[in-house]
């Protein structure tokens, strides 16, 4: 795990119901809205081609409303004939969502709106109804796992040193919209308090999985979970439990305080947009400090969503499980 300044790409998956999205070649900054759309409820199927007596191929030519447009009740969606006209109208206010192979229409009521924001400063490299991909240059730190929605904000140091745990008392509403660096560990209490205070995201060496279960539910796994709903964003840099951040990681984080940053949860990456020279940290693999049952260094997981041109493989520093039983945690033969 090292800091790298390179050209990265980040995928931003889009929910169904996109209304507008950035186009290929558009310049975007992290935090910019790159896609917006509507959250849709149960769709109604409306007969189309059959009603107009057309073949499905001909029906699409007769559509008067573009698929993906908002419509109001009784809007004429398609019409044929002049003197004895036949038409298809929308039965409800909503979105013309889909045209079937048979030439029927799906219209869904709009219940909410959504937006997707960029997590990189750069250029839109791909844009379609499923994903917007942004490519750009940034400092990047590859984490072990990330949870929650993408987050964008200013980097703020929440601890005095790499081996400190972030205390709940250090979180307040003045930190709203920031990405807070939490040192060796952030607890469930810190995560929930930070979310309540409007903190954009948390970055720490380790997060106790029991705390993750409290916040994200019992189905949470070590591979992380990217979501779109209103939940806290957490990036575990080294693993689970408590993990003291190496100085080569922590010092640049401290130096980058105040810089704009983004957590891309699908790839578990922290992007920092700064031209600051943190090259010292870039050289070599950092020393890894293991605390208690915490992890050492890890090979990066195979991640979808964000890619780098060159392989960033890393060997684990530890190949055998080394367990240090605690007081209540000894095998019978050792007791």
């Amino acid at each position: 795990m090292t800091w790298r300044r390179e050209r990265w790409s980040a995928d931003h998956p889009l929910p169904i119901g996109v209304t507008k999205r950035a186009q290929v070649g558009d310049l975007v900054r992290a935090g910019d809205i790159i896609a917006a759309g509507a959250t849709l409820a149960g769709a109604l199927r409306v007969p189309g081609a059959r009603r107009l007596g057309l073949s499905p191929a001909d029906f699409e030519r007769e559509l008067r409303v573009r698929v993906g447009s908002d419509v109001v009740a009784k809007t004429v969606l398609a019409r044929v004939g002049r003197r004895f006209a036949r038409s298809v109208t929308s039965p409800i206010d909503g979105r013309l969502l889909h045209v079937t192979v048979d030439g029927d229409l799906y219209i869904a009521p709009i219940v909410d709106r959504w937006t997707v924001r960029a997590t990189l400063d750069g250029v839109v490299a791909r844009s379609d109804d499923a994903v917007v991909e942004v490519e750009g240059e940034a400092w990047c730190l590859q984490g072990a796992a990330a949870f929650g929605p993408d987050a964008i904000g200013e980097i703020t140091l929440g601890v005095d040193g790499p081996d400190s745990d972030l205390a709940p008392s250090r979180i307040d509403v003045r930190l709203a919209g920031r990405i807070i660096v939490g040192g060796a560990r952030v607890s469930a209490e810190v995560i929930t308090r930070a979310h309540a205070c409007g903190v954009a995201g948390l970055v720490a060496g380790g997060v106790p999985p029991a705390g993750l279960r409290v916040v994200y539910g019992d189905t949470v796994t070590a591979s992380g979970s990217s979501s779109r709903d209103d939940r806290p964003t957490v990036l575990c840099l080294m693993g689970f439990g408590s993990a003291v951040l190496p100085r080569a990681i922590f010092e640049p984080l401290a130096a980058l305080g105040g810089a704009r940053a983004a957590i891309h949860t699908a790839s578990a990456r922290l992007f920092v947009f700064s031209t600051a020279d943190i090259a010292r940290a870039e050289a070599g693999s950092p020393d890894v400090a293991v605390s208690g049952e915490g992890p050492a260094a890890y090979a990066p997981a195979d991640r979808g969503g964000a890619d780098i041109d060159e392989a960033d493989s890393e060997q684990p520093a530890q190949s055998e499980e080394e367990l240090s039983p605690s007081a209540n945690d000894r095998s019978s033969s050792e007791r």
Binding site: P13, P15, I16, G17, L40, A41, G42, A43, R45, L97, H98, T100, V101, D102, Y106, A108, D128, D129, A130, V131, A144, P208, P209, A210, R213, D218, T219, V220, T221, A222, S223, G239, F240, G241, E293, G294, P295, A296, Y298, A299, A301, G304, Q315, P316, Q318, S319, E320, E321, E322, L323, P325, S326, N328, D329, R330, S331, S332, S333, E334, R335
Partner: protein, 434 residues
């Protein structure tokens, strides 16, 4: 990995491919049989099931489309009858809406009759639609995608199936192969006539799949197998950190070995539950006369550890001869399991070439009888009778009952689990007790 065809045959080195991860969405008809059939296909091919949608799914059209989009399937497998045609066509529309922009596009595999296929093919555009006449063809098709066209290195699951088949042929009885790796758990039942029931669960294993064992089987179910108290957060931390480490070779420290054994038991038990849910013959698996254990549990240092994992996870309910085959070694016969569930003390008669002996079996007892060679056993009153060959450990008499239930309280559970480990010499410093 090495492959051996028996304990006396030479070991042959083989290059094995794990295959690429194949994400499969299952779309099936209303009938329970349809759900089982399509689940069977995915399990037999070693694909990862990322979404399931039934023809009568209560989710709305938009929700179904969103579920398919979020699942990002490589392949959508469709199975259903004529009466499901309309509903399946609608789900294909949801697929078009959800995954139309996905790159590469998912392929659609249909296990449907020709008339339904003609209708669905029309609606599957622009996805590539392939109709298969038989389930085995779908499995082959999915496996081809997993292997990515690399025919030189067989997939691990195919090799496990070959092993089970070879064991069934050799012993002329049904044979079960149980394989647990870092990321996968496999159960393959082979019959002497060559038919097999196979289920490969991914991700469900001891390393990268450890967190999935905890999520599916629950943390308490893993913890109950540890012969020492440990609080749930500490155990969870270890499980999650296992997923991020590349393990080279078997675990060596005792705590790590016991943790791995606990995970393996639950991986096997959970795989059995899923196999039963998919309609596989789990009763036949549990009563298979020959059982082969491979993968990481087979690589544990002591044969007793491998046997204990198998007996606790699988809960065999007959007389079985157990073999183990580590990835880097030859197959060896490690013991014979006699599972009995007597309500009152019973007698077991053990007949071998050198004579016969009678042992008393108390309900709940668990222990080894040091016997070598061909053995014929019969338990009075319990209706258990069988023939097998004991291995280096002898005959394991398991009278703990089925289903195996562990005491809830640590004060009762830990001594019991410790006793079972000790009976099979699975903990350092303990020797056999019969």
């Amino acid at each position: 990995m090495t492959v051996s065809t028996g304990i006396d045959a030479p070991v042959e080195e083989t290059r094995v491919a794990l295959g690429r991860s194949l994400r499969v969405a299952l779309v099936h008809g209303r009938e329970e049989a349809s759900r089982r059939a399509v689940t069977n296909l995915a399990l037999a091919s070693g694909a990862e099931i990322v979404a399931r949608i039934r023809a009568s799914d209560p989710r709305s059209f938009v929700e179904a489309a969103q579920a398919l989009r979020d699942a990002r399937p490589d392949v959508v497998v469709i199975q259903g009858g004529t009466k499901d045609e309309v509903a399946l066509a609608e789900l294909l529309e949801a697929l078009r809406l959800g995954c139309g922009a996905q790159r590469p596009m998912p392929r659609v595999f249909g296990l449907v009759d020709t008339r339904v296929a003609a209708s669905l093919r029309l609606r599957a555009s622009p996805f590539e639609f392939e109709r298969f006449a038989a389930a085995s063809e779908v499995v082959d098709g999915l496996r081809r995608l997993r292997s990515g066209g690399d025919s030189d290195a067989p997939l691990r699951d195919a090799l496990i199936e070959d092993g089970a088949r070879a064991l069934a042929e050799t012993t002329a009885t049904a044979a079960l192969a149980v394989d647990v790796t870092e990321r996968s758990t496999s159960l393959v039942l082979a019959r002497p006539d060559g038919r097999i029931d196979a289920a490969h669960f991914i991700p469900l294993g001891l390393g990268m799949g450890a967190d999935h064992v905890v999520v599916r089987a629950s943390l308490d179910n893993v913890r109950r197998w540890l012969p020492w108290p440990i609080d749930a957060p500490a155990l969870l931390e270890r499980m999650f950190n296992r997923t991020r480490r590349t393990v080279e070779g078997p675990a060596t420290t005792e705590a790590a070995v016991l943790l791995e054994m606990a995970l393996a038991r639950e991986a096997i038990a959970h795989a059995l539950r899923d196999a039963a849910d998919a309609g596989l013959d789990v009763a036949a698996m549990r009563s298979a006369p020959s059982i082969l254990i491979t993968g990481q549990p087979a690589s544990l240092r002591r044969a007793g550890q491998s046997l204990l994992v198998l007996v606790d996870g699988l809960e065999p309910n007959a007389v079985s001869t157990v073999f183990r085959e580590p990835d880097e070694g030859r197959a060896e016969r490690i013991g014979m399991v006699v599972a009995v569930a007597p309500r009152r003390p019973a007698k077991i008669r053990i007949v071998r070439a050198s004579g016969r002996s009678v042992a008393r079996v108390d309900p709940g007892s668990f222990g080894l009888v040091a016997v070598d060679g061909d053995v014929e056993v019969a338990v009075s009153g319990a209706g258990v009778r069988g023939h097998g060959r004991s291995g280096e450990l002898g005959v394991l008499i398991d009278a703990r009952g089925r289903p195996l239930s562990l005491p809830e309280r640590d004060g009762e559970r830990i001594p019991a689990v410790t006793r079972w480990h000790a009976a099979l010499q699975a903990i350092a410093g303990h020797r056999s007790s019969t």
